[in-house]
Symmetry: C2
Subunit: 338 residues, 2 copies
């Protein structure tokens, strides 16, 4: 992937902040790559970047319009097409992490051809994968899992990569979704892989490595989510993690986009352990990562302390506080960096 | 799908009988549709149909060559291509359930164009699906699950459809794999669906129906199989079965194609129940279906009796004996046909 930077983040007319999580993630982890955001009337999200028109963004040097939106089904709303065409006509490349390919919209394909700009569909890989083998591979792997979608699995993995590298670990964040691919410049959008090859793609993403190397893999969905658990399980089996971290959002009442209730943290630890043993009998939970943004700071600290006691595991918020307690636990369980 | 019949079954040069399960299934359930089989030198499988050359098959009226082979990855072996070209040149249509599309092989595409015959890739659907919703739907659903791949999930579902219809139930077999699609003329190859849409495709396959209607759904893979569990779980969540039957092959030692051990029947019942509750809290096991072909008859009966006592569930072999005990159980748990 060679996306030309800087970016203009396109948020469309999404109805809540979570739907703008691609833009949020990109702006949080790579603010220096983003000149601003473009929002349609009615847009309920705001990543905090300057609101710019296409013309203003071009003046600030924007090279690529990133369709930085996540929606169930990954479709392209008809209201977004004129903006994309305008950006193309202003000479910008377009990058999207949606399921639908940019080039499948005839007007977009034609405008891009006429202007000679590139259309990047980062969710799609033209690579073919083998089926998963389940064979043991060298190297260490950590996977973030969740009680739900959109609870901080990517942030937790990126934060752990940073903290582990800070202590001298060989650790690499591995993206499994569109935003992570935008942030790290590589990865596989696991939810776009054909069913038979999901665990095989996860094995390809996390190949045999030095015994002291850590892959820190961004998880997807939740084993308890009625829409997306298939991807979650294929990823778990393929990554064969030695360690996992459960991510949670304590104010959520239902699974994202459906009416199913949120499972308990204990249920997630239990089920991930049982299912993870299929490819790694030694799998274990090394921590809990909570998105406490909707709690007061004191409330958040009390909640994390309670979880730590309840589960005998470090409980952190990697954005608000620090990931160090989980790295401490990793050092205790697997040894410090050499 | 409008495949022209009768078929010539192409077995290639597969190394064991299980790899010919597409041909086996088609010939077992629809012998009247098959004029014979074509095997390459070294082929270790035999479905019991007459061995015919392409010319002989044409003389017997064969209209379509069915590439009736299952391999991990669903690829087309180079040694098969000349046979497919020969069949095309003899005027036959080609149907395949492999992942790879027939038309992606230039020689095949060109020969088909030249002769004006059709290439059918039954594993691929051009339909787009929504993501799964997990909402409760009217009607009853039964899913066959397995301790492994290739243990009789399709045979069990077809046999239950037949037995349930025999007692006046409104029951329909629903195919989720290539062979089932060849046999029933409809269905979705779940393992070819993109990860994000697996449970949504399963919901589409088993829509809201009359309260007394039973969908009898062919299961796929196993929750414990390191290659294919993603598809198994998406199917389980999407079908939201009221009832499931565990299929098992008692002489198998390792999961098909990998080194992982076979899980116990109890582990499968437990895990399917736990995970199935995500979309149907009332899910329950109504029977065990065993492929006893590698046991002597007396041994098989003893084994089934032991399982029945151990699990307090009817244990049957639908091919060798009868599916009636499971239909008895369904009547007891859910009521007889109206």
């Amino acid at each position: 992937m060679e996306l030309e930077r800087p970016y203009l983040l396109f948020l469309g007319d999404v109805h809540d902040q979570l739907a703008a999580k691609v833009a949020d993630g990109l702006y949080y982890w790579r603010p220096e790559w983003c000149v601003g955001q473009f929002r349609l009337p009615g847009c309920q999200a705001d990543v905090g970047a300057p609101d710019l028109t296409i013309g203003q963004a071009r003046e600030k040097g924007a090279k690529t319009l990133v369709v930085a939106v996540a929606n169930a089904g990954g479709f392209l709303a008809p209201t977004w097409i004129p903006v994309i065409i305008e950006a193309i006509n202003a000479g910008m490349h377009i990058a999207s992490g949606l399921h639908v390919r940019l080039g499948s919209v005839p007007e977009i394909a034609e405008a891009a051809r006429a202007k000679g700009v590139n259309l990047h569909d980062v969710r799609h890989s033209d690579r073919t994968f083998a089926t998963g083998k389940g064979a043991v591979r060298a190297g260490r792997r950590l996977l973030t899992v969740g009680t739900d979608c959109s609870v901080g699995k990517k942030y937790t993995a990126l934060s752990l990569e940073r903290a582990m590298r800070g202590r001298g670990f060989k650790a690499d964040f591995l993206a499994t979704g569109q935003t992570g691919i935008f942030i790290s410049g590589r990865g596989i959008a696991m939810d776009a892989v054909v069913g038979d090859f999901i665990s095989g793609a996860a094995e390809w993403l996390t190949p045999s490595a030095d015994p002291d190397h850590w892959d820190v893999v961004e998880g997807q969905g939740s084993l308890f989510h009625p829409s997306f658990a298939a991807v979650t399980l294929g990823l778990l089996h393929g990554v064969q993690p030695d360690a996992f971290v459960v991510c949670h959002e304590p104010t959520r009442r239902n699974m994202r986009g459906v009416t199913a209730p949120i499972p308990s943290i204990s249920d997630v630890i239990h089920l991930v352990t049982v299912m993870g043993r299929v490819t790694n009998p030694a799998i274990r939970c090394v921590g809990l990562s909570v998105n406490t943004q909707h709690l007061e700071e004191k409330e958040a600290l009390t909640y994390l302390r309670r979880l730590t006691n309840e589960h005998n595991l470090p409980a952190i918020d990697p954005v608000r506080f620090s990931s160090d307690p989980i790295v401490d636990r990793i050092e205790r369980e697997f040894g410090e960096a050499a």
